[in-house]
């Protein structure tokens, strides 16, 4: 199969080709790429794709993966239902 058909972000259905397109358009940070194509913004919170994107960015930039700036880690750590957070305190 064409390497570009590989799905990088399963939650947002983003292929390697789409990722390459934004990198080639000039975006240099994970923060920007997330916001433009929503990679890593889905319910798994970047569990898979963030492991892959820094490697691909590093390839383009000719640096090591360690040099790629990681995006802000935002709470909660995993998805929680609003009613569970609201708990018993809800006044109906």
């Amino acid at each position: 199969m064409d390497e570009n058909d590989i799905i990088i972000c399963r939650c947002e259905d983003i292929s390697l080709a789409e990722l390459r397109e934004v990198i080639e358009a000039g975006y240099t940070t994970i923060d920007e790429i997330k916001r433009v194509i929503r990679l890593g913004m889905g319910p798994c919170r970047g569990g898979t794709c963030l492991q892959l994107i820094d490697r691909i960015l590093a390839e383009y930039q000719g640096t090591g993966r360690a040099e790629i700036q990681q995006p802000t880690n935002r709470p909660p750590v995993e998805g929680i239902k609003l009613k569970e957070i609201a708990g018993d305190a809800v006044e109906k």
Binding site: E32, V36, P43, R45, P76, K81, L82
Partner: protein
């Protein structure tokens, strides 16, 4: 990359207001425009905002700016020849009143809005429930609805303005910080950045939550304060809620974005002025309670992410869009008090007209002197 060392105008702040100003200036033919952004474009207030576009305001100035901006949002894909659709959704804002007193204020606002051709109307609790069937109307006294209010994607609006500005020759420098503004004999002569000096006699302060710091660079103590506001986003689901549901007294806004997730927030009345942009557990808990009570079925949605950004608040909750009387050449579009994104299209046009000395398209008076004179017209409709 080497910065330009000379510019006709330097715009400090690469959010939607700065980029809209840059685009409109370039479109009117100005050459040598430089935008400075400390991080990436939209990394401040724009990219952290609630993505709503509302015309139902309570002051004439905010109504005018919002109404004209909506016209521009409607045509933005064509106007800016966008590469990616800005995801405009116009399924309305439903504003809820929880007391007769609040409803009286809404009726005053409706009169004002009608003069500005904003198609808003009063709704009863039963009508509100027809518009949003899953709404708990137990304590709702009434409300107003404007069907053309809605949503646009702030990241893609920023990209649209940035791309269009670059095509017109604007130089946009990301990860470049304005460190100081240089003055000689009371006149601006340049902007010192962390990557070099740019000679210019015109500077525009569009620094959002950090506008006061840019003001300090020219010795102005701007009547604005940064204040953290928090938001959360849920997992995406099928289209379920058309309009934004909002209340000032119950203190909430909640909208489903076109791709499926719900965005929601409220303003903490005890939030101190600060540059704090960290999320809090307190917010998450309060937000969950408010939403589960007012919009019960949303209780089943999982929270995916929460974050915070800065409002830049003025004493009357209306922006400052003006040139400094004390320091000629220092322009400001700041103090948007939480609604900069939705009025940015018109703000950019007005700023460009002001800078070029043209007659303003809209009759506005949003200068600094109003705060000294003290006859402020307060915007009552802010979350």
């Amino acid at each position: 990359m080497q910065l330009k060392n000379k510019a006709e105008t330097v715009i400090i702040g690469g959010g939607v207001v700065g980029l809209s100003t840059a685009y409109n200036l370039a479109k009117k033919g100005m050459d040598e425009i430089v935008v400075l952004e400390r991080e990436y474009l939209g990394s401040g207030a724009t990219g952290r905002c609630g993505a709503g576009i509302r015309q139902q305001w309570g002051t004439e100035m905010n109504c005018k700016l919002a109404r004209k901006s909506m016209d521009i949002f409607e045509d933005m894909n064509e106007l800016l020849e966008t590469e990616m659709d800005i995801e405009l959704k116009q399924q309305g804002y439903l504003l809820l009143a929880f007391s007769e007193k609040e409803m009286e204020q809404f009726r005053k606002n409706l009169k004002l809005q009608s003069r500005e051709n904003i198609p808003s109307r009063e709704v009863s609790p039963a009508e509100a429930k027809e518009i949003v069937p899953h709404l708990n109307i137990d304590d709702v006294v009434g409300g107003t609805f404007c069907p053309t209010d809605g949503h646009a994607n702030p990241f893609l609006v920023v990209k649209a303005y940035a791309d269009a500005a670059e095509r017109l020759g604007v130089e946009i420098n990301t990860f470049t910080e304005a460190v100081d503004i240089i003055q000689e004999d009371g006149k601006i002569t340049g902007v010192q950045t962390d990557k070099g000096l740019i000679a210019t006699d015109k500077v525009v302060n569009t620094a959002g939550g950090y506008a006061c710091q840019i003001g300090e660079m020219v010795g102005l103590d701007l009547p604005v304060k940064p204040e953290r506001h928090e938001i959360l986003v849920t997992e995406k689901v099928e289209p379920y809620q058309g309009p934004m549901v909002m209340s000032f007294s119950y203190n909430i806004y909640c909208q489903q974005t076109p791709k499926g997730p719900f965005l929601m927030g409220f303003g903490d009345p005890d939030e101190p002025a600060s540059f704090n942009r960290k999320s809090s557990w307190h917010f998450l808990e309060e937000m969950a309670k408010k939403t589960y009570n007012l919009l019960p079925p949303l209780g089943d949605l999982r929270v995916v992410r929460q974050w915070a950004g800065l409002y830049n608040i003025t004493p009357d909750r209306q922006p400052i869009i003006t040139e400094s009387k004390e320091i000629p050449g220092f322009y400001m579009a700041a103090g948007f008090s939480g609604h900069g994104f939705m009025i940015a299209p018109m703000t950019g046009i007005l700023m460009s007209e002001m800078i070029l000395g043209e007659e303003l398209t809209l009759d506005i008076n949003l200068d600094l002197e109003r705060f000294e004179q003290g006859n402020l017209i307060l915007e009552p409709s802010v979350v």
